[in-house]
C-alpha cells in the first residue's frame, strides 16, 4: 500500500510539469504551481524541519494564511514524516488574547514540537508558549532552507508505513480545536478511493475551491484529493470569496471547473450577492457537480442558486449533496451525480411527534427533505434509538457509522474517544433516517448551532456572556434560529440582568455583542437583554433552550405587529 510521499514522488516523476494548483489571490495574478514546483517548495520545508530536528511522527502546527507557504509547509511536513496540523489564522474580529488561549490549549493537547508562522506573527505565537511545553521550535517563513528538487531517497517521509499517522484534522467548532482526529495514510487513501468512485472522478475533472484547509471539506475535497489524484485544483480563500463571491463563477468559467463544494449558506450567498456585470461572459456549463455539504441541506437553496445561474449554463442536475465529517476523513454519503438528489415530502406532525418520515398528505402540513445520498462504498450506516438499537427504515434516530477510514480515536483524548463510540461504531451526534438506502439528515442530537458551515456550541457563547459585567452565570441563553433568506442559522443570545432601565439594558447588550463576537469570532444576529425572571428553566434548574427560543419567537412576532 502507498503513502502520501510515495504518491507525490510518483506524480512528480510522471507529470512534473503538469499544473497541480492554481493559487488565486484577490488583486493579484493567478499563480500556477506545477508538481515539480510543488515538491521543490515542499522540500525546502522538509529540509527546514530536518534542520530543526523535527522527527518523523512529531506534530507540526501550521499557523499560516492561504498561500504557497501553507501548501509547502503542509506537504514538507509529510515529506519529513512529521504530522501537519493546520490551525485557523487569527481573524480581524477575534481578540488576540482569546486566540492565544486557544493556541495554548491546542498545544497542551496535541503536543506539537514545532509551529510554523510568519515573522510578523511570531510574538503572538510565542505569547501562547509555556515553560516546559512540547514546542521546541518556532519556524518562520523567512528563515527556510532554499528550494530544490527533492532527494526522495534521503527523505524520512519515504520510510513511513501506510499505517502511520499522516495528518491531524480538527473537528470544527469553537471548542473543537481540542478534538483532533489523527488519520493514517491508509485511512485517507481508503476515503479517497471510495469517495472518488462515488464522484466518478476522472482526468477531465478540475476542482475549484475557496474552502479553508483547516476544515475537512477544504482539506480533503478541496486540497488533498485533487493533489494526490493528479486532478488540477484552482484554490482561493474564504476571505476573498466572502467579499467577492462572483470570483468562484469566474474561476469555474475560466478553468472549466467541474467540481466544487459549498456549505448550504453558500448557495444562498452566491444567488443573492452577485451582480450581472460580474457574470458577463461567464459559462458554468462545465460544472458537473456543486456539492452541498457541512450544513443541513435545503432544496430552497438549490432552487435559488439554479434560478440565479441557469442562464449562465448551470445545469439543475449539477446541484448535489454529501454528508461528511472529519471523523470519517471526509465523505460519509454522496448523492448519485447522474441525477438530482432525491426529494421527499413528509408529514410534519408525524416527523415531530412520532419521529418518522411518513409520506405527506395533502390535507396536512408538509416538510420537504432532500437526500444526502447513499453511503460511499467503504462506509456503512446504522440509525440507532436512545438505547443504541437499530430502528426501522424511515424512523429517525442517531446516525452511526463504520468504515475503513473512520477515526480510531481523538488525538490524546481518551475521554472524548470513549463517549464517541458504541461497539466500534462511531456515533455522529446527528439525527437522520434512511429511506430506500438514502440518508436524510434531519438535525443534531446536541444543541449545536451551525452558522455558515461553522459549528458553534451555545454553551461556549453563554459562558462568554457571563464575563460581561451585569450578566450573571446561568442567566443567559444562546440558540440558533434558521434564517430562510441566508440558508443558515442566525445566532441569538438572551441575557437576564437586574436592571429594568432600558438605557442600562441597551448598554449591556452592546457590551455583550462586542465581547462575545471578539472572543468567538461569531457574529450575533439578535442580542436581547431582559429583566429578571425572563429565562425559562427546567425543573432541575437547567436552561431550556428550545422553550426560550419559542418565547423569543413569540415576542419577536408581537413586536413586528
Amino acid at each position: 500500500m502507498t503513502t502520501f510521499s510515495r504518491q507525490l514522488q510518483s506524480l512528480h516523476g510522471r507529470t512534473p510539469e503538469r499544473v497541480a494548483v492554481v493559487l488565486q489571490h484577490a488583486g493579484q495574478p493567478d499563480v500556477p504551481i506545477s508538481y515539480r514546483q510543488l515538491l521543490r517548495g515542499a522540500s525546502a520545508y522538509a529540509r527546514t524541519y530536518s534542520r530543526e530536528k523535527i522527527e518523523p511522527g512529531e506534530v507540526v502546527v501550521l499557523i499560516l494564511q492561504h498561500g504557497e507557504d501553507l501548501i509547502y509547509s503542509f506537504l514538507g511536513a509529510v515529506l519529513q514524516g512529521a504530522v501537519p496540523s493546520i490551525m485557523p489564522f487569527l481573524t480581524e474580529k477575534l481578540a488576540p488574547e482569546r486566540y492565544r488561549a486557544e493556541l495554548a490549549t491546542l498545544i497542551s493537547v496535541t503536543k506539537p514540537t514545532a509551529i510554523v508562522t510568519y515573522p510578523e506573527f511570531e510574538s503572538e505565537v510565542r505569547g501562547a508558549l509555556r515553560e516546559g511545553d512540547s514546542v521546541r521550535s518556532v519556524i518562520l517563513t523567512d528563515r527556510l532552507e532554499s528550494q530544490s528538487d527533492p532527494d526522495f531517497d534521503s527523505l524520512p517521509g519515504m520510510k513511513r508505513s501506510s499505517e502511520d499517522i499522516v495528518l491531524l484534522q480538527h473537528s470544527s467548532g469553537t471548542t473543537g480545536l481540542q478534538k483532533g482526529v489523527a488519520l493514517s495514510h491508509q485511512a485517507v487513501f481508503n476515503q479517497l478511493e471510495a469517495y472518488s468512485r462515488a464522484l466518478n472522478l476522472n482526468d477531465q475533472d478540475a476542482i475549484v475551491s475557496w474552502l479553508p484547509l483547516y476544515h475537512d471539506m477544504g482539506l480533503i475535497a478541496g486540497f488533498l484529493m485533487p493533489i494526490l489524484s493528479g486532478i488540477p485544483l484552482v484554490l482561493s480563500s474564504p476571505f476573498d470569496w466572502v467579499r467577492a463571491p462572483y470570483k468562484l463563477m469566474q474561476a469555474v468559467s475560466q478553468y472549466r471547473g467541474t467540481l466544487s463544494w459549498l456549505p448550504n449558506f453558500g448557495f444562498n450567498f452566491c444567488s443573492q450577492k452577485i451582480r450581472d456585470r460580474n457574470l458577463e461572459g461567464v459559462d458554468l456549463s462545465s460544472w458537473r457537480a456543486v456539492i452541498n455539504c457541512s450544513e443541513p441541506v435545503r432544496l430552497e437553496s438549490h432552487q435559488a442558486f439554479y434560478e440565479r445561474f441557469h442562464s449562465y449554463g448551470l445545469k439543475w442536475e449539477a446541484l448535489q449533496c454529501s454528508y461528511a465529517m472529519a471523523e470519517n476523513v471526509f465523505g460519509v454519503t454522496q448523492t448519485d451525480l447522474s441525477r438530482p438528489p432525491k426529494v421527499e415530502q413528509i408529514d410534519r406532525e408525524a416527523f415531530m411527534v412520532e419521529h418518522v418520515a411518513r409520506p405527506a398528505r395533502s390535507d396536512r402540513s408538509i416538510m420537504t427533505m432532500m437526500s444526502s445520498g447513499k453511503p460511499i462504498a467503504n462506509t456503512r450506516i446504522r440509525i440507532l434509538d436512545d438505547q443504541g438499537k437499530d430502528v426501522a427504515d424511515k424512523k429517525v434516530g442517531e446516525i452511526a457509522l463504520h468504515s475503513d477510514c473512520m477515526l480510531t480515536g481523538y488525538y490524546n483524548r481518551p475521554d472524548a474517544t470513549k463517549r464517541a463510540f458504541l461497539d466500534n461504531w462511531y456515533l455522529t451526534g446527528d439525527y437522520g433516517y434512511v429511506s430506500d438506502g438514502e440518508v436524510f439528515v434531519s438535525g443534531r442530537k446536541k444543541d449545536m448551532i451551525i452558522v455558515g458551515g461553522k459549528n458553534v456550541y451555545p454553551q461556549d457563547l453563554e459562558s462568554l456572556s457571563y464575563e460581561v459585567p451585569g450578566v450573571h452565570a446561568g442567566r443567559s441563553v444562546a440558540f440558533g434560529l434558521f434564517n430562510d433568506e441566508a440558508g443558515t442559522e442566525d445566532v441569538v443570545i438572551i441575557a437576564e440582568v437586574q436592571s429594568e432601565d432600558p438605557a442600562e439594558q441597551e448598554r449591556i447588550a452592546e457590551a455583550l455583542r462586542q465581547h462575545v463576537t471578539q472572543n468567538s469570532a461569531i457574529a450575533l444576529r439578535y442580542v436581547k437583554v431582559v429583566g429578571p425572571k425572563w429565562i425559562l428553566k427546567t425543573s432541575s434548574g437547567k436552561t431550556a433552550r428550545s422553550a426560550n427560543k419559542e418565547k423569543f419567537l413569540k415576542e419577536l412576532e408581537q413586536e413586528s405587529k
Partner: protein
C-alpha cells in the same frame, strides 16, 4: 453628522444589525470590532454603490481602507464627481 453618515448608519442598524433603534457613532469601529460581519461586507458595498454611485472594490472591504462611518463617508466623497 452629515447625510452620508446618517444614511449608512441607518442602513447598518436596520439591515445589517437588525436593531433599528441602535445609533452608530460616526467614529465607532465597524469592521475591526466585528460589528459588521464579513458576510455583510458585500451588502454594504452594494448599498454604497446603489445609493451614492461609488464603487468599492472587494479588495478594499477591510478595516485598513475604512473602519468607521466617517472614514467610509470620506472615501465616498473622494470618489464622487465634483
Amino acid at each position: 453628522m452629515s447625510d452620508i453618515q446618517t444614511t449608512i448608519g441607518d442602513y447598518v442598524s436596520v439591515s445589517i444589525l437588525k436593531q433599528p433603534k441602535r445609533k452608530t457613532r460616526t467614529d465607532e469601529p465597524l469592521i475591526s470590532s466585528g460589528l459588521i460581519d464579513s458576510f455583510s461586507l458585500v451588502d454594504l458595498a452594494l448599498f454604497v454603490e446603489d445609493t451614492f454611485g461609488v464603487h468599492i472594490d472587494d479588495t478594499e472591504l477591510n478595516a485598513q481602507t475604512f473602519d468607521t462611518l466617517d472614514q467610509l463617508a470620506n472615501l465616498i466623497r473622494s470618489r464622487q464627481p465634483k
